[in-house]
């Protein structure tokens, strides 16, 4: 539905969007994630036909946004970062005006594509929930690009995520896969009784376990942090190993790396690399 090919946009010396390519399928909700200034808004503005690009193409609903701007604009709904309100207008006349210039009427092509640029900024918690629900309900017959730097928003609403930083795409995947891929596996916290010295080698012997480290606790127990490769379940193996080594098991808890951590990791690594 939306195809972006090698899009590049420069502001003077600074490259705001650098060779960005991605695709959005029909009915998909794509999260467009990145820190402030990463190029999210610039990309949205190019896709909506507000800004020209310096290189690359963008095809929306089969129409090139630069060659057939009116055709693509006719099929797209765009919510800019700053909601474009005529504050002196009443709500009904404002809506009527927008409906007219957007060509929303019975005879027109139904709009099935939406770009939302940080749509929940400035809303109260209840409204945020409502808007997220609305965005989710758009999926299926609407194609949505949701730009945001709020990570829970992406995990809640999006099927796929594009992470952009310094104008470049650093990752494209589902929120779940991203968490797994970048955590390089899982971290499992195991709290055992006094005999940690015998438990630790037992845990290390389990296949898939990369490293076991011990963390101090206030009580007399021992907290072992098990890092594993891959996303496969190993908690049952861990608990069995603990019992077999004769120790008491108090707690076992998997902490998969959150999208937040993935995001921070991706965007800070990039910054360090370019700095």
């Amino acid at each position: 539905m939306i195809r972006v090919e090698n899009l590049t946009k420069r502001y003077g010396m600074r490259t705001a969007v650098d060779d960005v390519s991605f695709e959005v399928d029909k009915g998909e909700i794509l999260g467009f994630l990145g820190p402030n200034g990463a190029g999210k808004t610039t990309t949205m503005r190019i896709l909506s036909g507000f800004l020209p690009s310096d290189a690359g193409r963008a095809i929306v609903a089969g129409f090139d946004v630069f060659e057939k701007p009116l055709e693509s604009k006719r099929r797209v709904g765009y919510l800019p970062e700053i909601p474009p309100l005529y504050t002196e207008m009443r709500v009904d006349s404002y809506l009527r005006f927008v409906a007219k210039i957007k060509g929303v009427s019975s005879g027109d092509i139904p709009r099935r594509i939406a770009y939302l640029d940080e749509p929940t900024i400035g809303l109260d918690p209840k409204q945020i929930v409502e808007v997220r629900g609305l965005i989710k309900s758009l999926g299926g017959d609407h194609t949505v690009i949701l730009s945001t730097h709020i990570l829970p928003e992406v995990s809640v609403t999006c099927e796929r995520v594009v992470i952009i930083n310094n104008g470049r795409i650093v990752a494209v995947d589902t929120p779940g896969n991203l968490s797994n891929r970048f955590s390089g596996g899982q971290r499992i916290e195991v709290e055992v009784g006094a005999t940690a010295s015998t438990v630790k080698p037992a845990l290390e012997r389990i296949s898939g376990v990369r490293r076991v480290t011990e963390e101090p606790t206030e009580s007399g127990r021992h907290r072992l942090i098990v890092e594993s490769d891959g996303a496969g379940e190993i908690r049952h193996l861990l608990s069995r190993a603990v019992f077999e080594s004769g120790a008491d098991l108090y707690q076992i808890r998997a902490e998969s790396m959150s999208l937040e951590e993935v995001f921070v990791k991706l965007t800070t690594d990039e910054e360090e690399a370019t700095a």
Binding site: S48, F50, L51, V76, L85, Y86, E88, M89, V98, I101
Partner: protein, 257 residues
């Protein structure tokens, strides 16, 4: 066409909801009415004095009144029109609503023409008392003067106003700040106004050119009730140029911050 009308409607709505429109109309009605009264009593007095002194020279009182009155109108327009156009694009940029307009399936031409047409409608409302005053003159003068010269005067005021509005819209497209737009427009108006004076004397090419470019120079014939297509063409080209420059300015990259 639908888009064009929608823009006009919205523009008029914005204008007439803001207090600026009413202040401008009130000032224009008041000042132009005041001057009309002064001019009227002055010429009536003059003609009465001539009759007393048995002067052989007769004077055409209605057309003298018209000429002075339309002259005054042009000066008031010069002061007030920058405030009509100052926000017309600058405010859209400042509020970010330009993003709404430029991402809608409307053309730049529809947008600019819509805004210009709305400004012209406002100008027509502004000139309503002038029409009323002209009707007064036509109704109460004896013998009744011919109508066409007065229509020429009104057309002149409308065309002059249109040219100034087109320039104002262009200047409003150059900034995000209404006050800067108003001040800039006012400055440009004054330059266009005095071009004529700076070319006084001499018939060199540059003097002729300056005189030709002066917006006031072309207005004079209208106030005398003369309709010359040369002047109509001048104002129409001025409007086209102003709107074309607006379009170029909006196309430029810098326009989208």
């Amino acid at each position: 066409m639908r888009n064009y009308l929608a823009i006009i409607e919205k523009e008029l709505h914005t204008l007439f909801v803001s207090p600026i429109a009413y202040v401008l109309l009130a000032v224009f009605f008041g000042v132009s009415g005041y001057f009309f009264e002064i001019i009227l009593s002055f010429y009536v007095q003059q003609s009465a004095m001539r009759q007393f002194s048995q002067s052989a020279m007769s004077m055409d009182v209605p057309s003298l009144i018209m000429q002075s009155y339309f002259g005054v109108l042009s000066t008031i327009l010069l002061f007030l029109l920058p405030m009509v156009t100052m926000g017309i694009l600058a405010e859209e940029r400042k509020r970010g609503t330009i993003e709404l307009l430029l991402t809608s399936p409307i053309t730049r031409l529809q947008l600019i023409l819509g805004k210009f047409s709305a400004a012209m409608i406002f100008l027509a409302v502004m000139l309503a008392p002038a029409i009323f005053n002209v009707l007064l003159l036509l109704t109460y003068s004896d013998p009744r003067p011919p109508v066409p010269p007065y229509l020429a005067g009104l057309l002149g005021a409308f065309l002059l106003g249109g040219a100034l509005l087109a320039v104002g819209i262009f200047i409003s497209s150059l900034t995000e700040n209404q006050i800067v737009a108003a001040a800039g427009t006012f400055g440009v108006f004054i330059v266009l106004w005095v071009l004529d004076a700076s070319a006084q004397g001499g018939t060199t090419f540059s003097n002729e050119t300056l005189r030709y470019l002066s917006v006031l120079n072309h207005y004079e014939d209208f106030t005398k009730g003369v309709l010359d297509t040369q002047h109509v063409v001048f104002y129409l080209s001025f409007i086209v140029l102003g709107l074309f420059l607006t379009s170029l300015s909006m196309e430029s990259e810098k326009w989208r911050k």
